[in-house]
Amino acid sequence: MALLTATLAALVMLAAACGSDDDSSSSTSGGSAAGDGVSVRIADKGFSESFIVAQAYAQALDAQGFDADVTSLASTEIADKAIRDGEIDVYPEYVGTSYQTVLKLSAADAPTSKEEQFQQVKTAYEQRGLTALTPAPFNNGNAVACTQEAVDKYGIKNLTDLGKASANIVYSANAEHLTRPDGLPLLKRVYGFNPKEIKTVDISLRYKPIEDGQANCVYAFGTDPKLGQDKLVLIADDKGAYSAGLSYQTFPVVNKGFYEGLTLEQRTAFTDTLDKVNAAFTQEAIIPLISRVEFDKEDPEDVANEFLTSAGILQ
């Protein structure tokens, strides 16, 4: 129903814009709000978080008079090739993934500030015929999450508190985390985190000890949908060392040819729209959305639509 309303709203806006004279050299017929009905081919990378972000981009752009549709691509490599070949125009990517997987740069050499990491990716992408727009604030990077009970009982407000509460913590993590230099060894060194016991499990089973009541904290990624489902609390990084690794913020990668082919007005509308959507994607906002798609099997299209509406981007 919400979708229908949004579509109607978009149509009304399109119709309204038809009357106005505009100087753009719109390639598509029909006419326009700022988007002039320009078609935008968006891709996602085939998992819940990516579905939601791509859908949100598409619906927000539609509302601005663009004609967006979304396809699903299987992997980073394929998405990167497709966008360089101009087969798609936009897709959401992670800064860290661009850094390591696409640009093949070493995480060890990455600048510590997230802004600098993004700038480095942006510059490198320019040379590859791609434009990187501003990232969303949510970060799917390294994190530690604990049960509400543990947080309340041991007064854990940040990672330093967690270090002090070590003797009460049973920590669930995969084997890789235990010896990875930016994983547990860093938590030990910087925050004095020496959990009473470690439940080592396969990476896909990390949340099971928590669900079975065998652990009270877990090595998490910032937007793991399990965080919402299991009602876990992300522990703030008061020293910034643990989260200083590669940033896993999402940003829109845009084919440069497509981007520069837009008129100034269209480009401004395009950029503003994506910026607005990204700005609304905070950590708190996206976790429940992913949880709904992943566990409640809701349609990403509906979830994105509701999110855009509540953020005031769609009416």
Partner: protein, 218 residues
């Protein structure tokens, strides 16, 4: 080598070794009890039942232990006992099959003679058949023990700990010293199991059999 020792200590090597031994010994003890009893029963009851048990047990050997552990995990939870259960199931077939074969293959003439001396069925089993089957039973236990010690490395994936945790950590981060800090103790434990049960096998061989068997082996 110093780096490996450091990695062993940094990753709670002694604790994980102890966990590894606990997992293996528990699973082996259970497998020995069940395998021996089932094997002897099979040798004593009708051929059809024996055929069934032996076939199922043989089939069981083809199921990867990790699959068994995953299955148990789906039914229960993470930790020590699910891992022990998987290793226990892995350990049964060699012991069962060797006990079965050992009792079955006892020279009928000897059994006949002991009956003639007035032994009751249980006495025949306890004083004649089992002692003669013992070397083979221990060979089965030895095989199980080595398999269990080696496979217990998987327990690290299901929250049961053990040296497998150290190996996986090293593997996923490309840290050779960490891999070795887990792999070397596992190898040592497996070799120890081989030695201990090989020795037990020799000790368990009745003196009379040792004499007759020596020329056969050499």
């Amino acid at each position: 080598m110093g780096a490996v020792w450091d990695a062993f200590q940094a990753n709670d090597g002694w604790g994980q070794t102890w966990t590894h031994i606990k997992l293996s010994v528990t699973a082996l003890a259970m497998a020995t009890a069940v395998g021996l009893v089932l094997g002897v029963l099979c040798a004593k009851v009708g051929r059809v039942a024996a055929f069934l048990v032996v076939t199922v047990s043989n089939l069981g050997r083809t199921v990867p232990t990790f699959a068994i552990i995953a299955l148990i995990l789906a039914l229960t939870s993470l930790g020590f006992w699910p891992a022990v259960l998987g290793l226990f199931l892995l350990g049964i077939p060699p012991i069962l099959l060797n006990s079965y074969t050992g009792v079955r293959e006892v020279d009928p003439g000897i059994v006949e003679a002991s009956r003639g001396m007035g032994f009751r069925p249980l006495q025949v089993l306890g004083r004649v058949e089992l002692p003669i089957a013992m070397p083979l039973v221990f060979a089965g236990i030895r095989t199980s023990a080595v398999q269990i010690v080696a496979t217990a490395a998987l327990a690290g994936l299901v929250g049961a700990g053990g040296l497998g945790v150290i190996v996986s950590s090293g593997l996923s981060n490309n840290q050779d010293d960490v891999i070795l800090a887990g792999a070397i103790p596992i190898t040592i434990l497996a070799a120890l199991a081989e030695l201990v049960f090989g020795g037990a096998e020799r000790l368990a061989t009745p003196r009379g059999l040792r004499i007759t068997r020596r020329p056969v082996i050499e």
